[in-house]
Symmetry: C2
């Protein structure tokens, strides 16, 4: 099923450089994060972790909003994870409000933002930072986890300012008014 | 999280009157089915079952396709589960193909069928059988189950022919070409 578990603790290839609560309660301090993919060997990690201070689980699921045109545009420029130069990463767990989940599909899609020349939608903003920032979205709401989504980003050090700008633009969208818990974890390897 | 477990075995308020494999492999014969709701007491069951021949789990999640207009139309006529006269039920587990899950949101929605005067979409067909047939959709793809969806229907005996017609119409839609496993379980209490 492609479940990825992020174990925050003392082990793992990714060293934590900051954990910032953006909305709601944060996560306890940890030194390192290990990502374990149920479909394959541990991602960039030395050994499987059995402990850890906290664990976040998410799974790769089907696309929920993207149209074929949007997926085609994304696929044309989207980089893979694990590029040698991408030594910076960020893990951002998010929970949206009940009000979001009560919306109908067309209402959520409208808040998400349609592709527009103004470039103000979620996908438009993301496209502006490709191929510099690689991204992987995992779903966890239906797993009964504390968060609804985990997003993992990887980028080269010279893309750090661009990544920070990407986050600021996303957080300024109407969609973010539905985000009730968000933690920003920055990492290096 | 609202996980519902259907335990097929010798216990439960619902007596099995038929288990028919519609596509792909079927399910083993059982006498009764017990529905256990993690959020509340066992649904119409005497005691919690610990055994059973098979178990199917699903969860109530957010709507994935319905627009606000469609939800409003549904809510206006949709009956609740547990009506005293609804002594017939059906549990239909379904798995869709990888081809379905690789479609973009707009492509899946198009196959699902938009509301139309011709009344040929999934929602249009369902509306034709309301309020006679009560329905509850549970999701299980992201739980790692053998099926993607479990649909539970309840109706009075005099709605049996209408329910059979509903299934025939749904199975004749383009959407059903993506169904690779389907089992029809009929029940009475």
């Amino acid at each position: 099923m492609g479940i990825v578990t992020f174990v925050g603790g003392k082990e793992g290839a990714w060293r934590v450089t900051g954990i910032t609560p953006i909305a709601g309660s944060g996560l306890g301090p940890v030194d390192r994060i290990q990502a374990i993919d149920s479909d394959g060997p541990a991602l960039r990690s030395g050994s499987p972790a059995s402990g850890g201070t906290w664990r976040l689980r998410g799974l790769a699921s089907n696309h929920r909003y993207a149209t074929r045109a949007e997926l085609t545009a994304l696929d044309a420029v989207q980089p893979v994870l694990g590029r040698p130069e991408a030594t910076c990463a960020s893990l951002i767990p998010i929970r949206k409000s009940d009000a979001w989940w009560r919306l109908a599909q067309d209402e959520r899609r409208a808040v998400f933002g349609m592709a527009s020349p103004a470039g103000t939608g979620h996908n438009d903003i993301g496209l502006d930072y490709l191929p510099g920032v690689a991204r992987r979205l995992l779903h966890c709401r239906d797993l009964g986890e504390a968060f609804d989504f985990l997003t993992w980003f990887e980028f080269a050090p010279d893309q750090t300012a661009a990544f920070t700008a990407l986050l600021a633009r996303l957080r300024a969208t109407p969609e973010w008014s539905y985000v009730e818990r968000e933690v920003e974890i920055r990492l290096e390897r």
